[in-house]
Symmetry: C2
Subunit: 430 residues, 2 copies
Amino acid sequence: MIDLAKRVHDHTWKIDPIVRSLLDTDFYKLLMAQTVEKRHRDVTVTFSLINRSKDIPLAELIDEGELREQLDHIRTLTLTRGEVTWLRGNTFYGIQRMFTPAFIDWFEGFQMPPYHLERIGDQYELTFEGPWPDVMMWEVPALAVLMELRSRAVLRHMGKLELQVLYARAMTRVWEKIEALRQLPDLRIADFGTRRRHSFLWQDWCNAAMIEGLGERFLGTSNCLIALRREVEAIGTNAHELPMVYAALSGNNHELAASPYRVLEDWHQDYDGNLRVMLPDTFGTKTFLERAPDWLREWTGIRIDSGDPATGAEYAINWWKSKGEDPREKLIIFSDGLDVDKITELYNQFYGRVKLGFGWGTLLTNDFRDLTEENALAPFSLVCKAIRANGQPTVKLSDNEAKAMGPDDEIARYKRVFDLKKQTADMPIV
Amino acid sequence: MIDLAKRVHDHTWKIDPIVRSLLDTDFYKLLMAQTVEKRHRDVTVTFSLINRSKDIPLAELIDEGELREQLDHIRTLTLTRGEVTWLRGNTFYGIQRMFTPAFIDWFEGFQMPPYHLERIGDQYELTFEGPWPDVMMWEVPALAVLMELRSRAVLRHMGKLELQVLYARAMTRVWEKIEALRQLPDLRIADFGTRRRHSFLWQDWCNAAMIEGLGERFLGTSNCLIALRREVEAIGTNAHELPMVYAALSGNNHELAASPYRVLEDWHQDYDGNLRVMLPDTFGTKTFLERAPDWLREWTGIRIDSGDPATGAEYAINWWKSKGEDPREKLIIFSDGLDVDKITELYNQFYGRVKLGFGWGTLLTNDFRDLTEENALAPFSLVCKAIRANGQPTVKLSDNEAKAMGPDDEIARYKRVFDLKKQTADMPIV
């Protein structure tokens, strides 16, 4: 049993590492890395930190030396024997040998590639460049380090008792959320909160609370290390990174339009079952589904990660119906901006009409809102994205204007190719 | 910094002592013991545990062996050198050398006298008999042991995470109470919660929270050990025990009627200043004040420990006025059944009219109401009282029918002598 307040207060280790294992990352990173390592090991990508919350002056809050120590520490990590055993021997979604011997060999020899860190004004420029399978592994640990260093920067000035009360309140809040979720009898929910977590220990505690409070309703966690240690399911499928890079590598607009489906063709070959969950919003959900090849209707489900989630879900349900599929056999995973009220609302709206899953992120593992002076621990929007592939810029549109990224001229071109007048928050029901 | 949940869960010591020091008792016990040891060391008294909450089957909840281990452990305790130094060297209410060398000599050689423990149905009969100054020292530790063994009995079946959530909720609750009390700018409040505390560590945490949250508004604690360790004021004056025993020792009804004032005459000789606070309700506040000798009007204040507190306070104010005293120079200490709402209400009613002090007990150090299944940690009413003195039964009437105790015929006699038609919850305003 961990005394969170004490651990935060003491900081007895030399650098008190934030990321202690290469498995302290999201499961879908490993699934994607396996595909990428097999198919695209020669692609060179650049990943970059992007702080969407410009009002959070990360370089003012976080000491550059401390940040470098944390990142350098991550570069020393290699898989332990027990971790390799878990990857080899565990079943994921009931499937044995999810990872090929070739991928495990690669991962056993893996160390994080170099990073580039520079302070620009009150923000950090943090980029990673190199072979795609190597560089992509930085995303989650880099975010986790920045999030936790920011937490520590705020907590450093608090007294012992203040810290105890802070964690007591945060625990009480999480537990009350879990008690509210118990009202939903067939809920299926997972922790997706690694990248925006308050801290590793806190994410781990939130998982312990979900296990104890929700029992079978808790599906597991996206965090491999926590899944291993707490013996719960590792959860995840794929992310925007794949269509973004595939799109950037397209030779022309025709190839660009086809790229999101090439991603899923490859995925279809590499994985099946619960891993066949499409993420349709990278360049707008509406066009994606309208142009989808026929075989995609057989996929297990869809993940809704931007735009109004109910609108997106209704759209998907109607799409399945139009293809002659029974939506009650299909899975919808909601994973954007969830908290108890939204989960309950979506559950009530869709329960019985489709299979439902919830990927609960920031407001599970980092809800310290209004618990400190000036709300200094309010969560904020930090991402780490592929911004270039083989020298070409990447683009993301999504169903939410605020989540769009890429150079303006490329965004304009993508909008033409994907027939987006504007991002599809107003997506019409088919 | 203590991880309460962990300590509760682990129990690594042999018996995990509940009372670790002879100073883990209320300060007024020492003040009273000094008077008793000087004046009445030949009086033989019997103290007895009385569980007013018959629905709490203490003997079902608490193992007799464990209870004996705890009581036996207390009998091994003697003052440490540092504790003696504190008693000798500390100032109490600004006064040096509060304790005489004779008393400190006695206390340095002191060990707890034997106890008699017997299970009767689902309750324990726990009594202590012997010289008054020796036996009286059992009251607070005996209660603390029973309260904490009951807490442990309930907590023993809880998992680690359940315990963490329980303490997180209880901490959040205490802290929110303290935040509410911060609204009262000139509040003066003390911890009076030793005897009914959830546990020693919890009482200590509550004190840390009061220190941090209330600053100067927190006067200190009745618990000597916590006062010593946390370097806050030890708080207290005197209790019903004195008038009860003095009354029992009275030769006739005339002496009986005079006995409460003889207590205060002795006290007046032994102490002054903030220690001259009368406790008027032992045999009914109304008669006590009506018959009070003139010199009592000069005392510093009054403690209101039963009956409706606002009624009692108004009664005292009017009594001072009728004696030509300015109530604004007088102190009223409320110490019965307080929680934030009641404190706020009394503060608002009396602030500016008298000096106010609050002695906050059970609902500071043991408010785990509704935090466990079946409310198994709800506080309950356990006392340890002098029931006989030199073979004579004691009586307490108080301003609250439920708190009366003693043999029926003696209660009837006392009511005649103290002119009580009934307990004076309906005490008229003078």
